[in-house]
């Protein structure tokens, strides 16, 4: 037996275009223009899912995003999408839909036994029951409960769909294409300004699509045709406005057609916004109101007029307002026997007359006492004097209308209660926002059209458009009937009167929450789970709030609502991520030498956003062995390494020297031209910010280098100081990190290598001493040589514009080939500096003071510098601060590890210890593992034995505290 049938009336489906789809493995046929829900109803499928908690049989209730029950899992593999909303899913060929939360089958669901336990599964049951007997008992219960309850299940497969994002702008954004939205969009478009109309449905028209009225249909088509003729009007159907944010930023998610992307998340910045989001019908709350076949009256009307799907023979309508009579009349005209259970005692004459004419029986002062039928409604028993049982295929309910105020509230404006329509309406609009139609509580078509036009004219005025515009033509039909309603807020008796269909919250749960003191709407929501889930309580919230207000003896206006937050409708995480996935997850930063490294056997490692050459094939195929060979090359001969990632800043201006003198702890005012100086800068809290070398190029120009990690932060900090504090200094900063590439040529033979590469250049110590700088032009390219050493060996940094860095690198390699020069990577670079005792990013943890790093003596005593005052605060001078030490491993065959926790030899190995290893390497010079570390009291403990504990590998290694300068303490090599 089926409860629905296709009519042969005109509808918005194309009966010449059948579409095949499957539901729970069974192949079915619908038509182009159908939704998944309408096609299922047309195929006689009314049992469509099982409820969240009690596994009660559920069917379709609504015809829009508010649908709480008709949710399906669609797609397969990585394209699987749980909780797809049936009434908004456009039927396309090949959809595979599966019902949810049922096993082994929808019809026979084992967990339906939960219904027997429903008396104890009331609100707060989990919180009260599953907290004991042991402290961690919840961990045991949780997986079982999760398996037993819920909606669709996300699959672990990677989502293979493509999601895009874009940014758009317009003068007028109209959200919603019902009568108000269409009128607003057409009016605004006539101005020639940029207008965007968005509609969540795949067809424009909103409530007009459900009307079945030829005049309105013609009006709809005329407006759409006109919109299409305006060049600056942009129409986006299949697009949901998910949220309105500051600055009139509206986030839209669009489902494009014939496009590689499944979804496009659009950030639309609109000068003005017209919200024409309409209204959603409220259910009524009565016993067994969740049975398949119990639907919103407006939904029944939509399925009838838009999709040509009608109840088979008999429908009962229960209502407290006039709007449901449109459904009643149109059902009767479609040969459905209609009975109305009317909550009100009196009705207006025109409704009574038309009902009589169509043979509709009306029971005033009535309602629904109970619904009969489990997996499909078969009859209803009326409440009140007429306690009769009426057979029916469908029960259509209407408890009034809730304006869709969500978007109006995203900016923090709370909705207000309107007694006249018994609903919440916008509490106001932000400047440049306007509302029109149902969202304002205006439920008539003619009034909505007029409001749409008025809103558009106001929006145009805000956009400084003042020309006269032609009025939108009204449809040739009579004026709207007045809307009357008698709200039903009292809490019904019974155990299965559902308020929230998606979360299985009943009127009994509301009562219980009240009894237990969860009175505020926010507490009510969280205690009962009311209004959560994919529908976010679009059909349930107002009824629940009203019941709580009734129980508390408060007027609705005092009860308030919960907070509306974006997104308005379910939004897949993929849309938020967009194309920032996989290789596009984050930008990659490549050295000018990157392609050379690739071609010459480098293995890369990520260093922040940089991809850096880690080690090279010539030295080995694993980092553990390759870096040792590369280190040996530098210690014994000469190597070349890419240091292009160093931050580089051009500091120019007559006050450049004074500026540097203020930001570095050591003096720079008298740095001679052609010389470099190592400098350390502090934050204003006295903590080390960064170190690096700055060279003086001329009286007014300096070339600063920073660490790779801190380059951006240092640049921002310096700009901040100049722009906010030292506006009197005439200094200009420019980042040269991308302009200049750099290479370190290091090792005892490095000078010979440069002499071979630049035979006409004098790079002897006399001309280019340690920390000397030399600029010259080589083959028409500016080159800068800085005699600096990170490795502790005789070494030079060679910098040149990035476009020529590869050519210069190749030239040096080729020229010094006879020496055996080879490239060395980041691992060796870092290990060499550990042997020398140079601190770097790993050791600078943004908690170190100068003294912690053993650099306190380099600070100028007389001069002032950033961070000086707070550097000397008590805590920064505490004797037991974690300070820099060196560590030598004392056990053969064991290794030190980065992050190891340090304990004194006599300590119990427990807790946070006295410090930790910041950098570690195998020393080719000392033939043992060495490390830099921060240790309580620092070098006061030099010579003491310690334990390096690494609990992750259950290792405790004996080591000794030594100076952090492991090699060449006198600096003879680098001064060679």
């Amino acid at each position: 037996m089926t409860a629905f049938r296709r009519t042969d009336k005109p509808a918005h489906i194309d009966r010449t275009k059948p579409i095949t789809f499957t539901f729970d493995g069974k192949t079915l046929i619908g038509f182009s223009g159908d939704t998944l829900a309408s096609a299922l109803l047309a195929n006689g499928k009314t049992l469509l899912g099982r409820s969240f908690k009690y596994h009660r049989p559920r069917g379709v209730i609504a015809a829009g995003f508010e649908e709480p029950n008709a949710l399906f899992t669609t797609g397969v593999g990585g394209r699987t999408e749980p909780n797809t909303i049936g009434p908004t899913t456009e039927l396309v060929s090949g959809i595979t839909a599966k019902s949810q939360n049922a096993w082994p089958s929808l019809s026979f669901d084992v967990m339906a036994a939960n219904q027997l336990l429903s008396p104890i599964f009331s609100a707060g049951f989990y919180y009260k029951t599953f907290m004991g007997p042991l402290k961690k008992s919840w961990m045991m219960y949780e997986p079982i409960i999760r398996k037993a309850a819920g909606l669709g299940v996300a699959v672990p497969d990677v989502d293979t769909a493509r999601y895009e994002q874009r940014h758009t702008f317009c003068d007028v954004l109209v959200i919603g294409s019902g009568p108000a939205g269409l009128a607003a969009a057409v009016t605004a478009a006539r101005s020639g300004l940029r207008v965007t109309l968005t509609e969540q449905d795949f067809e424009l028209g909103g409530s007009l699509l459900s009307s079945g009225n030829e005049v309105l249909e013609q009006w709809r088509k005329t407006q759409i045709a006109e919109l299409e003729s305006h060049r600056e009007a942009r129409v986006l159907n299949r697009t949901t406005a998910q949220g309105i944010y500051d600055g009139n930023l509206v986030v839209l998610n669009c489902i494009p057609q014939n496009h590689p992307a499944k979804m496009i998340l659009e950030q639309c910045r609109a000068k003005t916004i017209i919200i024409a989001t309409g209204a959603i019908e409220r259910p009524l709350v009565f016993e067994n109101n969740d049975r398949p076949g119990v639907m919103l009256a407006s939904a029944v009307r939509t399925y009838l007029n838009r999709y040509g799907v009608a109840p088979k023979k008999r429908a009962v309508i229960v209502t407290n307002n006039d709007s449901a009579y449109a459904t009643a009349f149109e059902l009767a005209e479609a040969d459905v026997a209609v009975t109305v259970a009317e909550h009100r005692s009196t009705l207006s004459g025109d409704l009574l007359a038309k009902a009589a004419q169509l043979g509709i029986a009306i029971f005033p002062n009535s309602g629904i006492a109970n619904v009969i039928g489990e997996k499909q409604i078969s009859a209803v028993r009326l409440a009140g004097r007429h306690a009769v049982t009426i057979e029916c295929d469908v029960l259509a309910m209407s408890g009034g209308w809730n304006p869709v105020v969500h978007l109006t509230s995203h900016g923090g404006i709370k909705p207000k209660y309107d007694e006249k329509i018994a609903a919440f309406v916008p509490g106001g609009f932000a400047p440049s926002h306007y509302g029109a139609g149902g969202v304002n509580g205006t439920f008539g078509v003619m009034a909505a059209i007029r409001e749409g036009e008025t809103a558009a004219r106001a929006a145009l005025e805000t956009s400084n458009f003042s020309k006269k515009l032609e009025a939108v033509e009204l449809p040739a039909m009579r004026e709207d009937r007045a809307y009357t309603i008698q709200p039903q807020w009292t809490v019904p008796e019974g155990k299965h009167a559902f308020v929230d269909f998606q979360n299985d919250v009943t009127s009994k749960d509301i009562k219980q929450a009240h009894q237990e003191g969860y009175l505020s709407v926010e507490h009510l929501k969280r205690y009962t789970t009311l209004g959560m889930g994919t529908d976010q309580g679009k059909t349930s919230n107002i009824n629940a709030l009203a019941m709580m207000a009734d129980l508390r003896g408060l007027p609705m206006s005092a009860a308030g609502t919960t907070t509306f937050r974006p997104p308005y409708a379910p939004l897949t995480i993929g849309a938020i991520a967009g194309r920032n996935v996989g290789a596009h997850f984050k930008p990659k930063r490549l050295s000018p030498l990157h392609d050379w490294h690739v071609a010459h056997g480098a293995t890369f490692i990520e260093a922040g956003l940089w991809m850096r050459a880690w080690y090279y094939d010539w030295a080995g195929h694993s980092p553990e062995t390759a870096y040792i060979k590369e280190m040996e090359l530098v210690r014994q001969n000469v190597g070349i390494s890419d240091v292009s990632s160093l931050g580089k800043i051009d500091v120019q201006g007559p006050d450049a020297a004074e500026f540097l003198n203020r930001i570095y702890v050591n003096g720079f005012a008298k740095l001679p031209i052609g010389r470099a100086r190592y400098g350390v800068m502090l934050n204003d809290d006295g903590i080390v910010l960064d170190d690096g070398t700055t060279s003086r190029i001329s009286d007014t120009q300096f070339y600063m280098t920073t660490t790779t990690a801190q380059a951006g932060e240092v640049m921002s900090w310096l700009e901040y100081l100049l722009q906010m504090h030292w506006t009197d200094l005439n200094v200009h900063l420019t980042s040269l990190t991308d302009e200049w590439g750099g290479m370190a040529v290091s090792g005892p033979n490095s000078r010979r290598a440069l002499q071979l590469a630049f035979p006409e250049l004098d790079v002897t110590t006399e001309t280019l001493p340690y920390i000397g700088v030399m600029d010259f032009v080589f083959e028409d390219v500016s080159v800068r040589i800085l005699r600096l050493s990170f490795s502790g060996e005789l070494a030079y940094e060679v910098h040149c514009p990035a476009n020529y860095t590869t050519a210069l690198w190749e030239h040096i390699l080729k020229s010094a080939d006879s020496l055996g020069i080879k490239p060395y990577g980041l691992e060796a670079l870092a290990s060499l500096r550990i042997e020398k005792g140079h601190v770097a990013g790993a050791d600078l943890d943004h908690r170190n003071t100068l003294d912690d790093l053993g650099l306190g003596k380099m600070a100028g005593k007389e001069k002032d510098y950033i961070g000086k005052a707070l550097r000397f605060r008590e805590d920064c001078q505490a004797p037991e601060r974690w300070s820099l030490i060196g560590i030598e491993c004392m056990e053969d065959g064991k290794k030190l590890r980065g992050g190891a926790i340090l304990f004194a030899a006599s300590d119990e190995i427990k807790g946070h210890g006295r410090g930790y290893i910041t950098s570690v390497t195998w020393s080719t010079e000392l033939n043992k593992f060495i490390a830099l570390a921060l240790y309580n009291g620092g070098l006061k403990h030099e010579g003491e034995d310690i334990i390096c504990a690494f609990p992750l590998k259950n290792e405790n290694v004996k080591a000794r505290i030594v100076s952090p300068h492991f090699i060449d303490k006198q600096g003879e090599r680098l001064h060679a």
Binding site: R162, Q165, H259, P587, K588, R589, F778, Y804
Partner: protein, 162 residues
């Protein structure tokens, strides 16, 4: 002269009948910084505000001018060559504005982002300077070290026009 190398050496070419994305190399970019009177004296008439290109000069800050002309002496100004710092990507064709709208939160409508104007914005978290050269031709000045990443990002955004 040493041979120049491109940051887009390994970039995957973008081929389409509707849209071209290519590297536009061989340009000179120089920054001049200084007070207004010195800048004017050295360079001549300058754009009065950020966002417009005038005689290949672009004001990128109150005291900073970028020039696409050959570098010149500028007494009392502070000159910084930047030709290597940026990779220039040219995107042209009817859908160019649509593609750019997927990359940066700038209004690329033809009435708003006109030829001769530029925007300093960001693509994929990276600072990018976009210059509208002609109706549907744009130059993206991208930090060299991020050039390949941005090339990939823009090419990916243009997938629907391939």
């Amino acid at each position: 002269m040493l041979k120049a190398s491109s940051a887009l050496f390994s970039a995957k070419p973008f081929a389409s009948n509707l849209l071209a994305i290519v590297e536009a190399p061989d340009f000179t970019l120089t920054q001049y910084a200084g007070v207004e009177k010195d800048l004017k004296k050295a360079l001549g008439k300058l754009p009065s505000r950020i966002g417009i290109v005038q005689d290949n000069f672009m004001r990128v800050g109150p005291t900073q001018i970028w020039s696409l002309n050959e570098a010149m002496d500028a007494p009392n100004c502070f000159v910084t060559p930047l030709s290597s710092s940026r990779t220039r990507i040219e995107i042209s064709g009817a859908p160019a504005r649509e593609v750019l709208a997927k990359c940066a939160s700038i209004d690329f409508h033809k009435n708003e982002f006109k030829p001769g104007t530029f925007a300093m914005t960001g693509i994929h978290h990276v600072p990018v300077f976009i210059h509208c050269v002609a109706g549907e031709i744009f130059h993206l000045y991208v930090l060299r070290t991020f050039a390949l990443s941005i090339w990939d990002h823009v090419s990916d955004a243009a997938l629907e026009f391939k």
